[in-house]
């Protein structure tokens, strides 16, 4: 006998108790919730959300650790390092991103969705998927620096504040992704 959850199927009979992951929430409600978090950031802090900026601080701090002089001479890293009076990791976005990790974990635990796995389509090996994840991340990191922010800092934040550059950016993200989607279909579908 096979149920929807698979709990009663023969293969899984060994597993004593299975917590099935709950389905994801209604996207419109999630969007409203996310919008309220963003609004809270505007009202309380006078700034929006972000993600890539925290990793710029982290990378800059790392470069400083390994090659302090090189970091100080580089105009990009040195901007994140400041004048040295404050630890570069004592930064608003760094703490916000720490919160993102914690918030994601809490939500995942509550819905039984925390699982050590690799997300991919059926037609690609784990190894290749991870190579693509690294390449995609690299492009994303580079692109976000050029655009002065990523999906959170530009599209969400600047989108809600009606920033021209953010809207231009957002349209281009969708354009780039849709243009590339055909070539990446083996990874996802």
């Amino acid at each position: 006998m096979t149920s929807i959850t698979g709990i009663f199927s023969k293969d899984d009979a060994v597993q004593e108790k299975v917590y099935e992951p709950k389905p994801y929430s209604n996207p419109y409600l999630v969007g409203i919730g996310l919008g309220l978090v963003l609004l809270a950031a505007f009202v309380i802090m006078g700034r929006g959300l972000g993600a890539s900026g925290a990793f710029s601080s982290l990378v800059s701090a790392g470069v400083q650790k390994v090659a302090p002089e090189h970091a100080a001479n580089n105009p990009y890293f040195s901007e994140y390092l400041g004048d040295g009076s404050v630890n570069p990791l004592k930064d608003w976005l760094v703490f916000e991103v720490l919160g993102v990790f914690v918030g994601g974990l809490i939500s995942g635990l509550l819905a039984h969705r925390v699982k050590k796995t690799v997300e991919k389509g059926d037609r690609i090996s784990v190894r290749n998927r991870l190579i693509f994840a690294f390449i995609g991340g690299g492009l994303m990191g580079f692109g976000a620096k050029l655009a002065r922010g990523c999906t959170s800092g530009q599209a969400l934040t600047g989108g809600a504040l009606l920033n021209l550059g953010s809207w231009a950016f957002m349209m281009m993200v969708f354009a780039g992704a849709y243009a590339m989607a055909y070539f990446m279909r083996r990874q996802w579908t």
Partner: protein
């Protein structure tokens, strides 16, 4: 009400980090609820099978945009004190394209990959390493691309000013566009689901 609170010195810089952490928890929680810790869900946006990315993004933008608009209208929020970046049109367009390409190759954006890594996805962890590598490369070659990086600077550009429309009118148009996009997304998903079940037969 005088907002943004932080800009009116209602709390210290140290406390702002506590605020950052709490806001981050809300952000991460929402992303995970939406399914954005899962690269397959995110990628399906670009194959028209599940338009969650668009639905969540636009309903978030509309919610926050309406909130800001009304707070400003009531005189509670001083928009000039809310930070957003200058517009550097061409670098932002090129950056957006690179980011979009990276999105469909890597399966995440930086924020969602944090949630993905936090919920055990190895691809999310590897993706984050890639992000840091990309930032490192950007920083290293920055001296050679800084002219381009700073090009086409237009300062702080507020869309209503740019379009010569009132704030309220642009807000209304964005809401209209979002509702249209939601309708199109629902229609597209049904269409794709019908096509898929047709293939199975």
């Amino acid at each position: 009400m005088n907002a943004p609170f932080f800009k009116f010195d209602m709390f210290s810089v140290d406390f702002s980090l506590v605020v950052a952490f709490i806001i981050g928890i809300g952000f991460g929680f929402a992303l995970e609820r939406g399914g954005f810790g899962n690269a397959r869900i995110l990628a399906s946006q670009f194959y028209f099978t599940d338009m969650r990315v668009l639905k969540v993004m636009f309903s978030a933008i509309v919610t926050a945009m309406l909130g800001v608009f009304f707070f400003v209208a009531f005189g509670w929020l001083d928009l000039s004190l809310v930070y957003y970046t200058d517009t550097n049109l061409i670098p932002q367009i090129v950056g957006g394209l690179i980011l979009g390409i990276g999105f469909v190759i890597g399966g995440y954006c930086p924020g969602t990959s944090c949630v993905s890594a936090a919920t055990g996805r190895i691809d999310g962890v590897v993706y984050l390493l890639g992000v840091m590598a990309g930032i490192f490369v950007f920083g290293e070659i920055f001296p050679w691309i800084s002219d381009f990086y700073y090009s086409t600077n237009m300062g702080r550009v507020f869309l209503p000013d740019y379009l010569g429309l009132s704030y309220g009118m642009v807000v209304f148009l964005v809401v209209l566009m979002a509702v249209g996009a939601f309708a199109a997304a629902e229609w597209g998903e049904k269409k794709m689901a019908a096509k898929k079940s047709g293939e199975r037969k």
